[in-house]
Amino acid sequence: MTAKQFKFAQIISAFVIAIAASQSVATNNFLLLVIVVAVAAPILFWVRSQVKEVMADERDYAIGGIAARWAIQVYSFAAVIGMVALYSQRSINPFYEAIASTLAYSTCFLMILYTLIFRYHQRLKFLADKTAYAAVGILLIIVLIIAGIRLFSGEDDWICQGGQWIKHGNPSFPAPQVECRK
């Protein structure tokens, strides 16, 4: 298989996943998306293994590094400006605060992740001590657990009760727009 054919397969996979994602959202059936991704990922890995020619070399990796750094900087800069603008306008539309929070958290997460990966490749990669690898892994898991608890704990959220959305704690975002059927 050639690199061109592999890229074509990638585009087809992206289309199929996008269709599954839109269907999942429309029908509120996210199992469909999980199944499609679970099937598509190993197929793509297998197709990738069939490509015999060089897909990327040191020049691509160097350019990729520069592009990634620029992308992070541009995203962070735009997200911070967007966050400030949306927070300042939250009295107009309460949804702005939720969007601003998402931008703020995603920017912080992206920067932490970038720093961790950068430090890993800068220093720890050259250490023979395996505990350093474990330390980075544990740190990353702790960060993910904290983020998960914060996001999915159910504190400061809207609860569906008796056909109405009822405040639980002090959510920073308005009640969901979907119909409450419990």
């Binding site: 020619e53 060089v54 897909m55 990327a56 070399d57 040191e58 020049r59 691509d60």
Partner: protein, 61 residues
């Protein structure tokens, strides 16, 4: 970086594609190398020199 990759490659009758394949890189990298628009790693310099049966010094010196 000025180099003589193109000169030695054509002398051997190799195409850019063939040189790229032997050196384990993409053809575009060879194009940029020959144009002096890309400074290769030491490893790639050695790989290209080996394919062309030259020393790194002969290629880039």
């Amino acid at each position: 970086m000025e180099n003589r990759i193109k000169e030695f490659r054509t002398k051997l009758g190799l195409t850019q594609e063939e040189l790229a394949k032997s050196a384990g890189v993409r053809r575009e990298t060879i194009v940029f190398l020959e144009q002096g628009k890309y400074n290769p790693s030491l490893q790639l310099a050695f790989d290209v020199a080996k394919v062309l049966h030259k020393t790194v010094d002969e290629l880039f010196g």
